[in-house]
Amino acid sequence: MTGLWTLFYKELLRFWKVSLQTVLSPLVTTLLYLLIFSHVLAAHVQVYPGVGYTSFLIPGLVMMAMLQNAYANSSSSLIQSKMAGNIVFLLLPPLAYWEFFAAYVAAAVVRGLVVGIGVGLAGLWFAPIAVSHPLWLVSFALAGCAMLGMLGIITALWAASYDQMAAVQNFLIMPLTFLSGVFYSIHSLPPFWQALSRYNPFFYMIDGFRYGFFGMSDVSPALGLSIVGGCCLALSLTTLALLKSGYKLRN
């Protein structure tokens, strides 16, 4: 297990050494969203009874920041190693494919949580939020970060250039994140978009995470966690299979 712990520690140190860029920068960006949207919409929108719009917004923004940063951590670390060629330092030692997987996913989860907790704490300055179901909250946070960490690994394994990486990030991850109900309840959408949103696994992460705070959600948290858990399982098996086969790593 020393190999796994070393790789996990190295991945943590990697993002911590550039924490201005990897922690502080996403924190500030998310708080700007919070500042602007809450200022513009707080007086006009109420999604759940008894919950102010700013309070409603905070869990969504926390989860969005967690997902984006978990994805960014594994994907950027791996693509940089591939492009710079220093991936050989991980391929020459006797690290098992599952150790590789566990270290990258765990580091992605940690970065996601660090940024998410930062956004959450800072959000308390804007509006009161209380946690009503901590277990649901933690389950969705962990599953969401792990899922995006895995997506990051898959993308970085597949991508042959930074351009391809950016394409996946900009044309898949970002739209799925923004169209997942961070800023609204899907019940406020027209029926077509409402139906489409139900095919977006990011929607269930945000919705379930929000349930952890307010005890209210668009779909039942059990259904949400089943879907997110199913996606996690499928992505785990895919990522492990790719790593085991040496896909685009060991030609």
Binding site: P94, R250, N251
Partner: protein, 300 residues
């Protein structure tokens, strides 16, 4: 004794390119072995297969008896590879890199050996420097240190002295020689054939994915690189009796290959009988470069 490296009938195809065509090779424990060949001959591909960076299309490889696919953990623990590409991780210092590399090999407390490596590779004062700030030669030495961090019995160095200046190159070889004396098996590829000739007891030459020569350096030199003499003659004409010895010719000279120095006397006697004067004579010692060029299908 189990061979340090066994390569059995290894083929590698990249699409339509047949990069390795049935390579068979065994390197005994404690050997200092050179793997030579022109660019594209398959040296790095073969090393990559040994290291698990690439997978053979067909055939098996073993490091200290451990199959590089089925028993990859033990095989990789037995092997240290200095890659050809000058790679580094810009985020970390030299010491951090070496600690990580130790950890990946399962060694959590390795600082005493890391300090010794840094000392031997003249990197002690750069231990806490970020790797991106090092010169090319220093980065190369960090790669050597990373390959040795787990004290592997078999060490493969793919062009280790490329970009390293003469003095440091000598230091590096002295260090590698010492590792060999301590029992480590060393396999190297290099473009400096004089290095291979001086250091290595046995040599394999690869050409277009096949082993075209595999012997001791001494045998290769005596079998393929006869002593050569370069003669300028007046008139510029070679008697028919000497034609079988002709190894090359230019506008004003002939190169003759001799089995030994005694042959020179017979050449001079033949020329005297033919009334041909020798205006210039130069004897060339056989070297690995001559063997290499001959085997690669070129003439000198």
């Amino acid at each position: 004794m189990i061979p340090a490296i066994e390569i059995h009938e290894v083929h590698k195809r990249f699409g339509r390119l047949h990069a390795l065509r049935g390579v068979n090779l065994a390197v005994e424990q404690g050997e200092f072995f050179a793997l030579l060949g022109p660019n594209g001959a398959g040296k790095t591909t073969l090393i990559n297969i040994l290291a698990g960076l690439s997978r053979a299309t067909q055939g098996r490889c073993r490091i200290m008896g451990h199959d590089v696919v089925d028993d990859y953990r033990d095989a990789r623990r037995s092997l240290g590879v200095v890659p050809q590409e000058l790679v580094y991780d810009a985020f970390f210092t030299v010491r951090e890199m070496l600690r990580f590399q130790s950890g990946y090999f399962g060694l959590s407390r390795n600082d005493a050996w890391i300090d010794e490596l840094l000392h031997n590779l003249a990197l002690t004062d750069k231990a806490d420097a970020p790797t991106r700030t090092l010169s090319g030669g220093m980065k190369r030495r960090v790669l050597v240190a990373q390959a040795l961090v787990h004290k592997p019995p078999v060490i493969v160095l793919d062009e280790p002295t490329a970009g390293v200046d003469v003095e440091l190159r000598q230091n590096l070889w002295e260090f590698i020689r010492r590792l060999n004396r301590d029992g480590h098996t060393i396999v190297l590829t290099t473009h400096y054939l004089d290095e291979a000739e001086t250091l290595c007891r046995r040599v394999a030459m690869l050409k277009q994915g096949q082993v075209v020569a595999l012997d001791t350096t001494q045998n290769l030199l005596s079998a393929h690189a006869a002593t050569q003499v370069r003669l300028k003659l007046e008139p510029h004409r070679l008697p028919d009796a000497l034609r079988p010895l002709l190894a090359g010719e230019g506008a004003d000279f002939f190169n003759l290959a001799l089995d030994d120095y005694a042959g020179l006397e017979r050449v001079l006697a033949t020329l005297r009988e033919a009334n041909i004067a020798v205006t210039e004579l130069e004897v060339a010692k056989p070297d690995l470069e001559t063997v290499f060029l001959q085997l690669m299908g070129k003439t000198t």
